[in-house]
Structure formats: structure tokens, C-alpha cells
Point group: C2
Chain length 909, copies 2
């Protein structure tokens, strides 16, 4: 049996022909033929002219890799057959002295990996075929130019690698050949390649060949088949090249996919002034506008466009830019080929039902299409195209919703650095893109400075090693936050994301001396007040100021339409995590249907509150604590009044105190002394309290409901503030739906205890005020035990809200603050498929979530269930929340639109 399977595998078809209006493949065969090959076949079938050729499948690549570089048995014969068919079409022959055929050999994986693998052009040029081609092309210089390009590419891509040489950076054969060419130009006193004449190039190819022999100890192959098979093997090898492997790691592309190889007849855009080469998009990829957009170069090969030596020209008036407006367009220069191209544009878009990114070459006035693929686009363009294509009848609403990656909406919500001025700006360093958008400001090194400068009307960027809850006022005041340490879920990242604030974390190159207020980075020194610009979407820090472009999605009609469609399709409710009226309003403007999480602890860090909070912590008994809590009560009530008003008519979930008490006390002696002075107690007393509250593993310590059970007066005061606020605004006509949420529940008895306390307090407030406000008491499910015993807990819970941050921490046994030490290793070694704090681990944590939902609803049918961890704003995780039948997700305000779209996509899928 095993034998048979093997035999049948090796007898599978390995080569797929395309050309002349026919093809053995089609656009759906991307897995086998790669994206490029599949689309070449499809275009050929559509009657679009492509240079004929054939594709060797990705299965051959897999075989090649698994066997240490061997080909399946029948491959050569299949290649020969396909090659013959191409020769017949052209008609010309590979290696023929009179009428030679040249090939390009290109990689083509299932999805595009731009620049990651190899391409070799002009395969088939040998001492035997050169004369014939000269006659055929009527252009000797062109042929020698093609030959020196072949030698350069081939010696680099095929021969150097085959020789097993790993030259130092910038010392490879390619660079050595290029330096010979530069020398020749210098000797001649000319500047451009085009200034070298036929004789120069003839000399040069001889110099090149000698150099190749000298460095690589091998003659440059003069047999066309040697060249062809060398190139094929080089492409397969390049799948496991360093760059390609690194790219796959980042993009999560499996190693076993492999690449196909496309062998295609050469067409030349550099045959003279009737020839050209270019790229085009069927719509504008930057704006989404329905206009044909592209650029080209006359008398050039593809690599010249990429090299950027000459300024590309616009294909039409609509594509002209500042740089190209004085140059004639393709439409003007070659109206015939342009018209054909424009027709092809319409055909392709109609056929593929999406914007296409195409490559073309015009040889002697004849248009050839070299590639088509679905074009990349930015967020604004994605939204515009999706909506317009739907309205044009090209796609359905469901398809339109699936056309936009939810994360792309981010671009519509945040001001961005101006892409053009970003290109020329001085890059300082790169970090993790923790908070999207752009920001410009003067650097400061402490939260207090940030606060003080901002109050003076200055724009500041807060630069810290790491941030802590004590920095929150400064973080709020700053335009953006930049830290040297921490990951995507560090304190800075979480807070910034919550506020939709630009933020870059883990920027390791920064060397911060907060005391002397100096930032050293890559040999540069920046001081307090120096200007920097941050691209938080990409994680890049620039020196000086880069222009900003503002954002206002509510003015974007496409966005509004797409969102309205999303709301129609989605089943999940979308709430927001918001701790103050400002965020609540913002989220509401983004479409939030309630608050899923109001953290009350942030409210205690304000300068007017922290003192009372600390008094409570320092108090030795209940009496002392109650006295301090009495001071906090009116402040909390005020906070809640503001939030309830902002969310008039919508539910507001408020979580009781969660963090351990030591987070509210200063750790450094200076601050402790200051606190002692302010509060009129001894430093020793403060130190002693800090010491007594110290925990080895605070994440697993005395926090959450454990505080409320030890100190019932804390829960009671908070519930009193919530209910008094609710009754007060209800009296004013505000529709208020408070939902009291108890954190860190692990047992039913805990929730019973806190629920009784909450209900007793609420009843007392209602009795006192005479205003009947309906309220719920529910719990976070964030401890594995809570998910496991959800049936029991549900008996005393009005709702569940999954806190998947903590649940992930405890299910994996990872401390979010410490996992940075090994998570990068885990991702690079593929031990984890994704960062579990960003994307919910469905295999493990997800099972607990499912269990929690099923058991919870078994314990209380119809139980309302949501999520309020970071995952509530992550599209993949939102899809999971939809599947497991949650009622809503809650996320930070700026992720509300993303969540709306992701929820709709989940429903549509």
C-alpha cells in the first residue's frame, strides 16, 4: 500500500502549461501553482495575452526539500513537453542559434512573499544564441545588456549559492560584478548604465565571466538547459533561504507550503522606445477611488522600475503625481496599448470581483500581462472599495463586509503621520506598535513633567523605561507614550490602547537616563524638550517633527455605510471598556451599546483621591477604613454620575476594586517620605505597611473579591456610590442600568458573600432614596476554577463577563509581566501559534471559556455572558466569542468599530 501511494504521488502532474488563450491550471489552484502561476493560467484562459510558459508545482518543491534536492522522476520529461509547446506557439526554440527563445524563471508561493525569493531573467542566452538574437532583435547593445544582466543575476542567485559560499554583507559576487561595471563607467567618465556602448558591454561580459570563474571557481554555464535547471533549483532552494524563512515566521506561513516555479517566455520592455514596462492597480490603492492607477517606464525592464533610478511616468492623467506630472502618460505615448490595458483592467476586475494589482510589459508596441493579483490597500481604500463595489453590484453586502480587515479600521480612527514626510524623516529606532496612529511632541521623562508641561499647553511624549499605575496622569497628559521595555500587553500598552493613544513599547535601543533627563539612542543624545515623532501603527520613532494627518471616521460616508451593514449582520452586542465619561462618550460615538467594564481603581489614582485611598490602606481597623472610605464615597459617586449620564439608556457594568492594595502605595523612599509628610505619619509606618502588603506573586495574591471579603466595607462603599449615583440620575430622568461586577471569583461562596453585601447595600440606598433602580450583580469569570464550577456560580450570578487576560495568565501559568522572557522564544520556535494575550488560545483557554458558558447556562438558563478582556477587541477572538454564543464583547473605545466589523464577519462566515 505504502509503495502504491508513493508511486501515485510521484506520478502526479508536476508541470502546468499556459499561453495562447489556453491553460492547464486556473485561479483556484493557488495551492498547487502558487498565486502567480494560477493567475497566469486564469488570464490566459480569459484570452488576455500572457507570455506563454509553464508552472512547476509546489508539490515538486516539497519533494525537492524532503529528498535533499531531488526531483520527482517524470519531471524532466514533463518540462520538455511543456517547453516544446511553448516553442511551437512562439514559434522559436530554446537554445536555437537562429531563432532563440529566452525564459524568465520566477518563484510563486500560495500567497505573495514580495522580494523574499528569487527571479532570474534572460535564461537561454549563450555564446551560441547571442548572434541569432542580435539578428532577431536588430539591436546588438540590447542583447549584450541582457547578457550582462543574466550573468549578474545568475552568478549571484544560482552559482554563488550552489558553491556554498556565504560572502560577507556587500561582498558577494553581485557586488563584485557591479563594482567592475562602476569602474568601467568611472574610467570612461560616464554616469549611467545607458552611457556604456556595445563595445563596452562586450568587454564587460568578458570581465564578468572571468570574475565569476575566479571567485566561484566555475565557468559561467554556456548551455541553455544548464542555465534553466540551475535557475529552477535556485528558486526551490530560495524557499528555505534566510529571508524567506524569517518572513514566514512573521507572517505565520507554514514551511510545508513550498513555492511553485514559473518558467515563462521573456518579453522585453527594453527593446526600444516602442517598449515599456509597468505596474498598475485597477483602483487607487491609497484612496479606494474607482480610477485606473499605475506607472511605467519606457524602454526598461521590470527591475529598473524597482531600482528607482529613473522617475516612473503615470499611465494616465489620473495617476499623475508631483514628480510625474511633467512627463507624458502611457495613454499619451502609446494610446493603443493603453486602451488594451484599460480594457483588461475592466475585464480583470469584473472577473476577480476585486481590485487587481497587475504587471505588464509592452514589447515593440505589443502588450503582455505578466501578473495579476488582488491588490493590497490601506484601510481607507479598503472601506471605500468594499462599499463602492457593493453599490456597483460587483459584490454582495456580505462580501463587502469580509473585504475589510477589521484592524484596518484603526487607520480611520487615529491621526496618522503623513506618509510622505515620514519617508524622508530621520528614523531613530523601532519598537512594538502598541497604540496605533501618529503623534508628535517634546520628550519628557517623568509623569509629573508630562502633566506639568501639558498644562502649559505643550505637546509632550512621555518616555519611560516602563510605566506603572503611578504614571497614569502623565500618560493621559501626553500625546503618546514611548517605553524601552515591556511588550504588547505591558501596562503602557494596555493603558494606551484603552485610550486609543499612540504608543510604542519595548523599544530596546532606547537608553533612558531619567535622572539626568537624557535619552541615548543609536549614538544620538536627546534631551528633555527635544521633538520626536511616533508612528504607533508601525512602531517607528523619528527625530524631529513629521506632519500629521487628522482622522474623523464619522465624516467618512463609506465607513458609515459599511458599519451600518455590519450592525445589521452581527449577532454579538458591542460594549466598551471605559473608566470615565470622556471615554464613554467617545465609545458611544464609535457605536458602543453599553459599558462592559468600568474599572474603579483608576479612579483612585487622581491626586484628590489617592490620599483618602492611602488613609484607608494605612488604617488598622474597620473604623479607620470606613472613615477614609467615607471621603472616597462622594468622589466615586460623582464619577459614576458622569458615566451614567454619558451612557443614558445603555447598561453600565462597574467592577469593584480589583488590584492589590500595595499598588496604591509608593515603593521608593522619596515618595514614601513625601507621603509620610503629607499624611502626617511616620515613614516607618508607611514602610511597615508596604512591607506587610508585599507579595511574592501579587497576581495570585490578595486582590479582587478577596479584598472585598476581607474588607467588606470596601465593596459596600463602592456599591453605595454606584447605587446613589444611579438613583440620583434616575430621578433626573436618565435611564440607568447599573451592573455590579465582582472580580476574581473562584467559588460560589465568594460570590454569595459579595452578592449579599451588594444587595443589602443597594436595598438600603433604594429604601433611603425611594427610587427603584433595577440593578444586576454578576461576576467576572477569570479564574480557571470559576469556569470549571460555572454551573454553581451561575446560581448566584445575574451575568458573567469573561476576563480572559487573567484567565489566560492562570490557564497557561504565564505572568503577563514576565512572559516577555520566554514568549518571543516560544513564538519563534513555534511552540505557540500566536501571542496568547493578544489572540485567545482557543485550544486551551477557549475550552475553559466554552465550559464556563455551557455550565453557566446549565446553572441559569439564558444567562447573559460577555467578555471584557483584551481579547474582546481582537477579531479572531471575537469570531470565537460569536461561535460560543456570547451575548456581547467589550473592548476599548477605539476598538469598538473593529469589534463591530469583526462580529459581523463572524456572523457572515
Amino acid at each position: 500500500m505504502a509503495e502504491k501511494v508513493k508511486a501515485s504521488a510521484s506520478s502526479a502532474k508536476s508541470v502546468y502549461f499556459f499561453g495562447d488563450g489556453k491553460a492547464q491550471g486556473n485561479a483556484k489552484m493557488k495551492e498547487l501553482l502558487g498565486g502567480k502561476g494560477a493567475n497566469l493560467a486564469e488570464m490566459s484562459k480569459l484570452g488576455i495575452r500572457v507570455p506563454p510558459g509553464f508552472t512547476i508545482t509546489t508539490e515538486v518543491c516539497t519533494h525537492f526539500m524532503n529528498t535533499g534536492g531531488k526531483y520527482p522522476k517524470g519531471l524532466k520529461a514533463e518540462v520538455d513537453t511543456a517547453l516544446k509547446r511553448v516553442e511551437k506557439i512562439m514559434p522559436s526554440r530554446f537554445g536555437d542559434a537562429q531563432n532563440p527563445l529566452l525564459f524568465s524563471v520566477r518563484s510563486g508561493a500560495r500567497i505573495s512573499m514580495p522580494g523574499m525569493m528569487e527571479t532570474i531573467l534572460n535564461i537561454g542566452l549563450t555564446s551560441a544564441t547571442i548572434p541569432g538574437l542580435i539578428v532577431k532583435a536588430g539591436n546588438e547593445r540590447f542583447v549584450y545588456d541582457a547578457y550582462r544582466r543574466l550573468i549578474t543575476m545568475y552568478s549571484d542567485v544560482v552559482m554563488e549559492k550552489a558553491a556554498g559560499i556565504e560572502p560577507k554583507e556587500g561582498m558577494g559576487i553581485r557586488q563584485q560584478l557591479e563594482s567592475q561595471m562602476r569602474k568601467m563607467k568611472d574610467d570612461k567618465g560616464v554616469k549611467d548604465d545607458t552611457d556604456l556602448d556595445v563595445d563596452d558591454l562586450k568587454k564587460l561580459v568578458n570581465i564578468f565571466k572571468k570574475k565569476v570563474k575566479q571567485v566561484l571557481k566555475r565557468d559561467f554555464p554556456d548551455d541553455p538547459y544548464d542555465q534553466l535547471w540551475g535557475a529552477i533549483s535556485a528558486v526551490f532552494h530560495s524557499w528555505n533561504g534566510k529571508r524567506a524563512v524569517a518572513y514566514r515566521r512573521i507572517e505565520n506561513i507554514p514551511d510545508h507550503w513550498g513555492t511553485a516555479v514559473n518558467i515563462q517566455t521573456m518579453v522585453f520592455g527594453n527593446m526600444g522606445d516602442d517598449s515599456a514596462t509597468g505596474v498598475a492597480f485597477t483602483r487607487d490603492p491609497a484612496t479606494g477611488e474607482n480610477k485606473f492607477y499605475g506607472e511605467f517606464l519606457v524602454n526598461a525592464q521590470g527591475e529598473d522600475v524597482v531600482a528607482g533610478i529613473r522617475t516612473p511616468q503615470a499611465i494616465n492623467a489620473a495617476s499623475k503625481t508631483e514628480a510625474s506630472k511633467h512627463l507624458p502618460s502611457l495613454e499619451e505615448l502609446m494610446p493603443g496599448p493603453y486602451k488594451q490595458l484599460a480594457k483588461i483592467r475592466t475585464k480583470l476586475e469584473k472577473h476577480y470581483r476585486d481590485m487587481q494589482d497587475v504587471e505588464f510589459t509592452i514589447q515593440d508596441g505589443k502588450l503582455f500581462m505578466l501578473q495579476t493579483r488582488t491588490g493590497k490597500r490601506n484601510g481607507t481604500a479598503a472601506v471605500a472599495m468594499a462599499v463602492e463595489m457593493c453599490e456597483e453590484g460587483l459584490i454582495s453586502k456580505k462580501e463587502a463586509l469580509l473585504r475589510v480587515k477589521p484592524e484596518q479600521l484603526d487607520e480611520l480612527l487615529h491621526p496618522m503621520l503623513d506618509p510622505k514626510s515620514e519617508k524622508t524623516a530621520e528614523k531613530l529606532a523601532r519598537g512594538l506598535p502598541a497604540g496605533p496612529g501618529g503623534a508628535i511632541g517634546q520628550i519628557v521623562f517623568t509623569a509629573d513633567d508630562a502633566d506639568a508641561w501639558a498644562k502649559k499647553g505643550k505637546q509632550v511624549i512621555l518616555v519611560r523605561d516602563e510605566t506603572s499605575p503611578e504614571d497614569v496622569h502623565g500618560m493621559r497628559a501626553a500625546q503618546a507614550i514611548l517605553t524601552a521595555k515591556g511588550g504588547m500587553t505591558s501596562h503602557a500598552a494596555l493603558v494606551a490602547r484603552g485610550w486609543g493613544k499612540c504608543c510604542i513599547v519595548g523599544c530596546g535601543a532606547l537608553n533612558i537616563n531619567a535622572r539626568s533627563k537624557v535619552l541615548s539612542v543609536n549614538g544620538k543624545k536627546l534631551r528633555e524638550g527635544d521633538w520626536v515623532s511616533l508612528n504607533g501603527t508601525r512602531g517607528v520613532v523619528y527625530e524631529g517633527t513629521v506632519g500629521l494627518t487628522p482622522a474623523d471616521p464619522t465624516k467618512n460616508v463609506h465607513y458609515k455605510k459599511l458599519m451600518s451593514w455590519a450592525d445589521k449582520f452581527r449577532k454579538l452586542g458591542i460594549r466598551t471598556n471605559a473608566d470615565d465619561p470622556k471615554d464613554a462618550k467617545l465609545a458611544r460615538s464609535f457605536g458602543a451599546e453599553g459599558i462592559g467594564l468600568t474599572r474603579t481603581e483608576h479612579m483612585f489614582f487622581g491626586p484628590d483621591r489617592i490620599r483618602a485611598m492611602r488613609e484607608m490602606i494605612l488604617a488598622d481597623d474597620e473604623v479607620g477604613r470606613k472613615k477614609a472610605l467615607k471621603k472616597l464615597l462622594p468622589l466615586q459617586r460623582k464619577d459614576f454620575i458622569g458615566i451614567f449620564k454619558a451612557m443614558n439608556g445603555l447598561p453600565v457594568t462597574i467592577r469593584t476594586l480589583d488590584p492589590p492594595l500595595h499598588e496604591f502605595l509608593p515603593n521608593d523612599l522619596t515618595s514614601q517620605k513625601e507621603m509620610a509628610k503629607q499624611m502626617g505619619v511616620s515613614v516607618e509606618a508607611i514602610k511597615a505597611k508596604v512591607q506587610s502588603l508585599h507579595e511574592l506573586n501579587p497576581m495570585l495574591g490578595h486582590r479582587g473579591c478577596r479584598l472585598g471579603i476581607t474588607y467588606p466595607e470596601i465593596t459596600a462603599t463602592q456599591v453605595q456610590a454606584i447605587m446613589e449615583a444611579a438613583c440620583r440620575v434616575a430621578k433626573q430622568g436618565v435611564k440607568v442600568y447599573p451592573e455590579i461586577m465582582i472580580p476574581l471569583i473562584g467559588t460560589k461562596a465568594e460570590l454569595e458573600n459579595q452578592r449579599k453585601l451588594a444587595v443589602d447595600t443597594a436595598k438600603a440606598v433604594i429604601a433611603r432614596t425611594g427610587i427603584r433602580v433595577k440593578y444586576l450583580v454578576g461576576t467576572m469569570i477569570e479564574i480557571p476554577r470559576a469556569a470549571i464550577t460555572a454551573d454553581k456560580i451561575a446560581e448566584v450570578a445575574d451575568f458573567f463577563s469573561f476576563g480572559t487576560n487573567d484567565l489566560t495568565q492562570m490557564t497557561f501559568g504565564y505572568s503577563r509581566d514576565d512572559a516577555g522572557k520566554f514568549l518571543p522564544d516560544y513564538l519563534s520556535k513555534k511552540i505557540l501559534p500566536a501571542e496568547p494575550f493578544q489572540t485567545l488560545d482557543q485550544e486551551g483557554v477557549g475550552q475553559l471559556v466554552k465550559m464556563g458558558i455551557e455550565r453557566g447556562r446549565a446553572g441559569r438558563p439564558g444567562l447573559k455572558i460577555g467578555i471584557c478582556g483584551e481579547h474582546g477587541g481582537d477579531p479572531k477572538s471575537i469570531e470565537f466569542c460569536h461561535k460560543v454564543k456570547m451575548n456581547y464583547v467589550s473592548c476599548s473605545p477605539y476598538r469598538v468599530p473593529i469589534a463591530r466589523l469583526a462580529a459581523a464577519q463572524a456572523a457572515v462566515k
Copy 2:
């Protein structure tokens, strides 16, 4: 319907008569009648003479509590009926002036709560009945003595409580009355109560009555029924008394059980020299020997025996002690009643099939039994009785196994403080009994001192605030460990328990100044070198030296027999956690069938190893780490050789490195400086490394397999050491079964990674040595995610071992080191039924364990599964392990016998 149920509940029988060879209840009705009432009924039915009386049920108590002190409707009538029946038997009448009947009123709960609730004697003595009783008893002094006792007890127990007075400690009515009596004796110049004559007592009762009226504002009741109902109500109230509630908390007795009330005819052991009162055990409760054992007092009431004013006499020659040997025995003094008593002894033991603890009174030469219950016994006695009763044919082997509490075996394994000299020793403080047994030694304050003193042949007790891994050498050297902080699962407790070392932790009264080497405790100051004695079984610290009694269970034939029976019945294998050959041998001598956990990290703390370990940690790259590991390799190999030899023929599970690396570096500057000097590096370098390794939540940080994945060379070196050791001893003929265990696995990919590393390394060693040693590679299941995804993990695991310490931490989200801040609160508020680190939480953590087992065996049928957390030595948890079909439990050496018995009990149940 509800009405009906209520009616039927209140019409239930509330009063159960007993006496005159008859009874309405029996021994099985403990829930309803309490232990005392049920057994009085049973004895009466057996034809044993008990003073006739009746029992009011525990249901009445529940009703009384639920209704705020009301009785069910028919109660009074039922009491009257029962009372009439008693009067008829006696014959005499309650309150009758000529022939008065007196009652005792006693509590009696389902299980004995010694001294926790109330007893009132001589109920029915009034001004009307006193003269009649004087005539009847022929002893005026006796009657007035009984009356003053009644006033004292009744005013204290009934009247003071009913008045709602809560006097200060030592200022209650009882103390005030007793002080009056003392005054009278002082005035008279006499010492004993018996020195007061009739006239004195007559005067005294008048003084008492006046005092009662003055203090409690009420006359002493002179109506017998007032006295009776007052006493009944006081007994019911005492169920919710402070002492009783506190006792129930500790013993985990539910509040709703309630107590019964026993109203029983008074018999008097103080009627003269033909009267006596005593207690006896049907076998010796201290040794288990099959001899009748007891003591008594002539002419005394029960409370005199308890008060310890007179030296009790032995009931027979076998019971005589140093203190009582010169006094005549009951057998000698009253041969008739003694013979009856001895007959009753045989009858009761045969009937109850267990050792009985009885109370008796002889009134005018007539024997009455007042109580029988199953007697408490110490561990040695429990074992001896179980085995002997089985051999006598009284009970089956299964019953014998169930007769011994597994924890009681502890007493047979550890030397103990001599109970007699313990009684008179000076108690210093009380802490948590973390390591059982007794120890005597001179106190030292540092691990180094402990080590140094021990090397000089001194016996030391290491006294620390808390211990850390750096103290381990000193802990090993010390006789015992005493800490001021920490709980039952603190570092000190775990290490000590592992070694079977005496240990007391969390002894909060200790004030330790390690620098000046002074220990202050309750006003006393102890200095280095002062002697203390520790009772680790009870958690008591004494000043000075208390005698020790040694332990050697292997010489105990009863123990050996019981264990052999246990081994026959149990299904679970029993392994041990042992880190060195000494522990391995010890555990083997206790019956361990293999090692379930060898922690390799303890091996790195020895002075010869810690340096190489630190070199490895300080190394910046793999080369440096490998160099340092090379130094550790031979040392580790030596360790393993010793263990393998000790366990010849049995499996040995070795866990690769688990703790975070920072545990191996010193935290204080002094030690850091010393380390810098020793290793020839700068203090800054060490500080920097300590800083870089610092973790906010080390429990959830870079440890376990995460280290082995980041630094594969660590795992590789350890596996190399294991396999080289295994091959070497195998060559010498030792049968070796190494099981390599990877800790902290959360995903299949992690185990795949480490397994490959282990297998590759093992194969290389086998190839090099040419010796084929079979080995297994398995994993700890200690992370919730591992249990959830056990099916996948099992695919690459040869075995599972549940690490329920960590699993409990993560499932609950409790840090073992920090939970001390709230767990006591949780236990006292009944939010948790038990300390989850001591007894496995079956409801939550247990579900994960079950899931892990079921899924694990689904992934790999027949998968071998064990447990090696602390719970592996806890009897309740062992029962769970049996139920969920584990293959073995592994525990510290001293718990191996306990585990064997617990496993047998689980199988027998």
C-alpha cells in the same frame, strides 16, 4: 402542603425515654439523640443499669435556634410524660418534699465536643425538697454541699447568660461565689472544701443566694420546674456559645447539627465511703493493650475527678501508676461493684466491637453507668487495638484497616516529647504543627550557625522569620525548625515535612532579631544557645528541655501486620518524593515502591555546586553555560548513581530543573559581594543579573520547561547525567528504571521539544556506553492548560504525574506564598471547606485532575498516571486519587505508611 409538612414536623417525637432495661432510642440514633443519649438508650436496652431519664432531641435544638428560643408545641407534655415514667421507676417525685427526685441536665451532640457545652447537676433541690432529701440521704452536710454546687453551676450557666451579662474574664458570678467560699475558709483558717461543716454550708448557701440576687437582679429559683426548664434552655443556648462555635470551626462540625439534652436521675458518688465515681477504658488508650484501665474517687462527684484536687485511684492493679500505686484500687475497695464493672466492660466491647470510654458512679455500693462512647486513642494504641481485635475475631481485616486514622501513624514514625514531662514544662508559644514529632535543641538564628554548631556535635533548633532555599543546609543540620511566619505549606513546612523533621511555623508570638541573636516571646528573652523543646505534632514550643521518647515502627509487630494487610487491599501504588539516597532508603524502609519525584534543584544548593550553577546563570551565551554545566554534570551523575542504587529494582522519576534561575542568586548585598569575590566578577555584574532575572510573579514566570526550552543545554546536561548514571549502575548489575519528568508543561509542543532533546541525549549516551537502559519521558500535569489538553499531551508522554501544588495555585489563582493573607479568613467565613493546599479541592481542581486523566488515557490508552504534589500524602486526597484511577501516589518518606493505609482504606470503602 407547606402547612402540612410544618404540622408533621412539629408533631414529631421530641422526647426519648430510657431506663429500667428499656429505651425508646438506640445507639444508631446519634443524629437525633446525640452520642450520649443514644448510648444511654443502648446501654439500658442491653440491661446495663443507667440512672433512668430521657433525651430531648437535636431537632428541638434546631427548632429552638430557628425560632429564637421557642420550643415545639407538644414538648412540655412529652417531658411531663417521660418525667412521670422516671418517677414511677425510682420511685420518687420531682419536687416532692418527702421523697424528692433530682436530675442532671447535660448536653450531647452527634459527636463529642468535650467541655464545649453545659452541664447542670442537682436540679430539683429547693427549700421544699431539701429537708426530705436530708432524711432520705441521712446526711445533712451532703445535701447542703449539693445545694451550693447547684447554686454555683446554675447561676453561672443559666442565670448569668439569661440576664445577658457578659462579665470580664474571671469576674463572673461563679468566680464571685467561689471567692465567697474562699473567704469563709480563710476566716475559719481551713484549706479544703471538706473542712466546711454543715453550719458553714448553710451560711454559705444564704450568702450565695444574696450575692446572686445582688449581681443578677433575680432570686435563685426555688421551683424545681423553673430550674429544669432554665437548665434545658441553657444547654440549647450553649450550642451557639463562643467556645462551641469556635470548636465547630476547627473540627468542621456543621452548625445545623444542634445538640440533644439529656435529663437523667441524679446518682451520687459522694454519698459516703460506699460511693464513688470514675472513668474507665475497656483497653489501655495509650498502648492499646487489652487490659481494663481506669481511675476513680471515693465519695466524690464527677466534677471532682476533673478538677484534679484529689489524686484519683486506679480501678485495678493493671491501672496503677506512680501516683496511685500506694492507694487501694476499686477492685480492692469494692470488689462487688468492680466485678459488675468488669462484666459490663466485656459486654460493651463485644457489643460495640470497639474500645469504650465509660463513666460510672457507685451510690451506696450500687453501680450506675453514666456514659459509654468509643474511646479516643493515640496512634500506637489505635494500631495495636485494630490488629488485636481482628486477631481476637472481634472485627474483620477491613474494619481493622478503617480503625486507624492514617495520620495517627505519624506518631509511630517520629520521636515524641514525653507526654508526662510535657505537662509540667513551661509553654512559650503556639504555632502551626508543620512537621510532627518532638525535638530538643539549642536555638540558633542563621542556617550557617546551625550547620557549624551541628558539625561540632550540638543539637540545634533553627529559628527564623521564614526560611528560603538558601537556608536548606542549616535546616538539614538542625533538629527542628521554628519560624515566626509562613503557613502549613510554607518553604519551611514543605522541606521539613519532606524530611520528616519536627517543625513549627507561623508562630506569630515570636519576635526574632536575627542580627542581635535574640528571640523575644511573650515578655521572655531567649538568646543563642538557649534550650527549647518543640512538639511538632501539636505546634507547642517549650522553654528548656523536655524528655524525648524514640520511635522505630519496624519493631512494632502490630504496625507491621496492619501495613501488610493494607498492602493486600490497596490498589494504588505508593512512591516517595526523595532527593537523595538517604531519603530514598528511608522511604523504602517505610514501604515505598519507587520514587515519584526527585527534585534536581536541591542538588544545586550544596556549597560545591552552587558556584557552578551561578557560573551558568551569569554566563552570557550557550558556550559559557555549557562550560559551567560541564562542571555540574559529574556531580549530578554522582547524585543519581546513589539514588539508583538505593532504589535498585524500582522506578525512579527525576524532574528536570524547575525553579526560576533567580532562586540561585543571593538577594542581599552582603551575599552578592561575597559571591562577586568568590567568582571574580564585579558586584555590578551580579546585581545586573539579579535585576534582569527579577520577576513580578515568579510563580508564573520563566521556570520549569520554559527554562529547558530557552536553554536546551540545561535539559540536555541533566538527561545526560541521568542516563550516564543509569548505564553505569546497570553495568554493575543494578536494576534501574529511570523516568525523566519534564515540569510545567502547558502545551504538547513544549513536551515535544523537551522530549526530543531528552531522547536524543539518551540515545547518544546509550550508543556511547553500549548499555541499553530502558527509560521513560513523561511530564508533570500542573498547569490547568495541560489538564485541559491532556489528550494531545499524552501523545508524546510516557507518563503523567499530577503536580497538584501548582495546579491548585493556578486553578484557584492563589499564590501559596501569599494566600496566608486571606485563606484564614476564607476558612473562618466558610468560603472554603478546607485548606486547598492540604486537601485537594475535589470540586474544582479535582475536576481538572479527572479531566486530565480521562483525556490523557483517551490520547494514550493505559497511560501511567500518578501524583507527586503535597496532596499525595493527604488521606482524603489519596481517596480521591484512588477513585479517579491513578496508578500511584507519591509523597514524602514519612508519609509513605500513611499513604499505604489511606490507599487501603480507599479500596476497602
